[in-house]
């Protein structure tokens, strides 16, 4: 009986069946559930699984295991690969002994990311083979195969699902999880020590492996050819299903080349296909990775085929595809009328519904207090990546910049150098602090740049689904790293702590930090309400409420809503009490 698995669960299952020994990851949407699944089922199967401090460390740990001949996997989101890039680029030259698979999840849209970068393009840049699954079933099969391929080529292999595979569920028929094979062991050899002379030799080898990988892919079951008409489609990854569904609805039979191995492209397969068709539409999400390679092949082989795709505007290079975008492109390519959609005129104006900090979120108190403290000063608030990025939204508007993991601390130092009259406050989450906040903190102390670093410590990695981090000890064999001790050891002289749901205390700490002469670090600690039990509930005393709506206007808590001339507190209240602390007439009280 097949099981209903999310793409990420299917990938984890594939890795377990392939006999991995070590799995590492740093949380990031849409990849997080891969490691969450391995944490659940890995240890029972003899797999060491960990949430690593960041993606670079995760890749290095997995590579170490693979150096000893064990199978290992590191999973991350697409921007995590940027963090790990230093290790990955060099690893391509050095190669591996045991199978090493990097699962890198892309997020076209983007739904939960800063960029729409295409990991297939990164794979080409790094000269690593990449597999592009079209659905959870294929993601499961590809993950298993990726370990064999990695060992055949001696190279790390990238599996690149997108959001609609990671966060899609499908019935998947599963195999068995075999016992872990023995680890051959690390053999001392100069091949593991990268030096310019070795790199020069290995670059020749690496380029040769590109051709070998392309040949391997010629007969891959992940690539599929159907010849039906002189008009053809070449498609990679998830787009395959959009093409087949659109073809069915338009009632057309096309020649089709489904590509599961977009880099290196299997040349023979593609050239043979191009010889059988007169025109071809290339349908792939994100960058024209396959399209560019097809154009190059058609030119080199002097093939008189018309190639349509992103370069001549049939399909967009930005945003996420969907069945409608692909159906429209296909209809245009075939010069037929696209299928209509029902017309229901007169849609009322709908409320915007952007994501928000949850009811009871401690970040709300942190931002409110720092905004208050900054009122009579010239202050820039730099932010970072996490739930707290949502503090940029009205009414808090407590974030002036957000760039990438850990960047708030660096940006603050640059701004401070050119605006000495401005105080710089860098907000960073607890997990982000460990991930990318340590080097810029050391830098600020060493250079004595007077920034205030505020660690918003909700004792979890909240945005990605509540994973642990080094500031917590969730396993029996883990050691908890204390953020204030780290700061002290780095030489920070002003270190302050407060509970952000206590506004008076937090405001006092904010004022003290802003008045400090050198770099200061403030820890605002309160557990995330999605994890901790609610403290209780608050209610509005209707006789005392004057209907000023200060609570709603200042805090923007989703549990508060106007109710005629008063305020109603919804059942989603967790009892954080911030609204009662700012009510000018003390009309909000705890439910006892």
């Amino acid at each position: 009986m097949p099981e209903l698995l999310m793409g990420n669960e299917a990938i984890a299952r594939g890795a377990l069946e392939a006999g991995i020994r070590v799995a590492t990851a740093y949380p990031g949407t849409p990849a997080s559930e891969i490691m969450a699944t391995l944490m659940r089922f890995g240890p029972g199967a003899g797999v060491y699984a960990e949430w690593s401090v960041n993606e670079k460390v995760a890749v290095e740990i997995a590579a170490g295991a693979a150096y000893a001949g064990a199978r290992a996997m590191a999973s991350m989101k697409q921007m995590g690969l940027n963090v790990a890039a230093d290790a990955v680029m060099s690893l391509a030259y050095i190669g591996v002994k045991g199978g090493l698979v990097l699962v890198v999840a892309d997020d076209p849209g983007p739904h939960s990311s800063q960029t729409e970068q295409d990991t297939r393009l990164f794979a080409r840049f790094a000269k690593l083979p990449v597999l592009d699954p079209s659905c959870p079933r294929e993601a499961y099969e590809m993950t298993k195969y990726a370990f064999d391929l990695s060992e055949t080529l001696g190279l790390p292999v990238i599996v690149r699902p997108t959001t609609r595979t990671c966060h899609a569920c499908q019935d998947v028929a599963l195999g068995t999880i075999p016992p872990r094979p023995p680890v051959p062991g690390f053999e001392k050899d100069p091949r593991w020590v990268i030096m310019p002379s070795l790199s020069a030799r290995q670059h020749v080898w690496l380029n040769r492996q590109q051709r070998r990988a392309g040949e391997e892919f010629t007969n891959s079951p992940f690539n599929e050819v159907r010849l039906n008409s002189p008009a053809g489609v070449i498609t990679s990854g998830l787009s395959y299903y959009y093409v087949t569904e659109a073809g069915e609805h338009l009632g057309v039979k096309l020649s089709l080349l489904k590509i599961g191995t977009p880099y290196p492209l299997p040349e023979k397969l593609v050239v043979n296909f191009l010889k059988q068709v007169e025109r071809v539409l290339i349908v792939e999400e994100q960058e024209p990775v396959v399209e560019d390679q097809v154009i190059r092949l058609a030119w080199r082989h002097r093939l008189p085929v018309e190639i349509d795709g992103k370069h001549n505007g049939y399909l967009p290079r930005e945003g996420e595809f969907n069945p409608d975008i692909v159906a429209a492109a296909l209809a245009r390519f075939l010069a037929i009328q696209p299928a209509g959609t029902p017309d229901r005129p007169g849609t009322p104006t709908l409320p915007a519904r952007p994501p928000l900090l949850c009811a009871g979120c401690p970040h709300r108190g942190s931002f409110y207090a720092f905004k208050q403290a900054a009122r009579d000063r010239k202050v820039i608030l730099t932010g970072d990546i996490g739930c707290y990025t949502l503090g940029a939204a009205p009414p808090l508007e407590a974030m002036d910049t957000c760039l990438c993991m850990g960047a708030g601390l660096g940006l603050a130092q640059g701004l401070a150098r050119v605006q000495p009259d401005t105080r710089l406050v860098a907000f960073v989450g607890d997990s982000t602090f460990f991930h990318a906040g340590l080097p810029p903190l050391v830098n600020a102390v060493h250079q004595q740049t007077p920034i205030v670093v505020v660690v918003l410590d909700n004792e979890t990695t909240a945005m990605t689904g509540h994973q642990p981090h080094p500031g917590l000890a969730t396993g029996t064999r883990q050691k908890k790293i204390d953020i204030s001790q780290v700061a002290r050891a780095c030489g920070v002289e002003t270190i302050l702590t407060a509970d952000p749901l206590n506004l008076e205390e937090t405001l006092a700490v904010a004022n003290q930090a802003l008045a400090a002469p050198g770099p200061a670090l403030v820890i605002l600690r309160h557990p995330c309400p999605q994890v901790a039990k609610p403290a209780g509930r608050y209610q509005v005393d209707e006789t005392a409420c004057i209907g000023c709506h200060t609570c709603i206007k200042e805090l923007g808590c989703p549990a508060l809503r106007p109710d005629g001339n008063g305020v109603q507190i919804a059942a989603t209240c967790t009892g954080c009490g911030l609204c009662s602390q700012i009510c000018p007439v003390a009309a909000i009280e705890e439910v006892v």
Binding site: H111, C169, L238, N322, G346, L356, P394, I552
Partner: protein
Amino acid sequence: MDILIAGVGGQGIILASRAIGAAALKTGLQVRTAETIGMAQREGSVVSHVRLGPTTTGPLIPRGRADILLALEPAEACRYLGYLKPDGRALISTTPVVPVMASLGATPYPLDDILGYLRNNIAGCHFLAAPDLACQAGSHRALNMVMLGALTNLDLPFPAETLLAAALKLLPDRVHEVNRRAFQLGKQALEV
């Protein structure tokens, strides 16, 4: 059968789509779903696509092709109505979740217009005060179960009991009673 589930982050839409998927699988159908996970889960607009039956298609339902729109919030029903086919049916919870931006007066929330528009533009439209029934069952958080219970009246390819069992399997034991009650209240609310 294609079902689009729409609502607000935190209403339990992922559980609803997983339960439908698991029930369909139990019945021997193939399943594809697409869920909203990530930033939008924090009070944002969320949607799940659930596709049951032979799947030569992707996880996303094309516009104008969903058989059923299951909406846990009226404005979200309106936002995703374009996915419903002309003769499709809808089951809509009528209680609004007013976004903070609307509370602040920065964005409108014309509830009466929205409900009127839905009523006039969907042939098979069923309204339900689902949060009231959830509270009656014992928890406002059982809203998704009320809606799943009501959904069983719309000719699903599996019996109500299969869906209830699949949903309870995704929940901890201690909340089974409340959720079973919520499911039954939803089911009865729409029975003819």
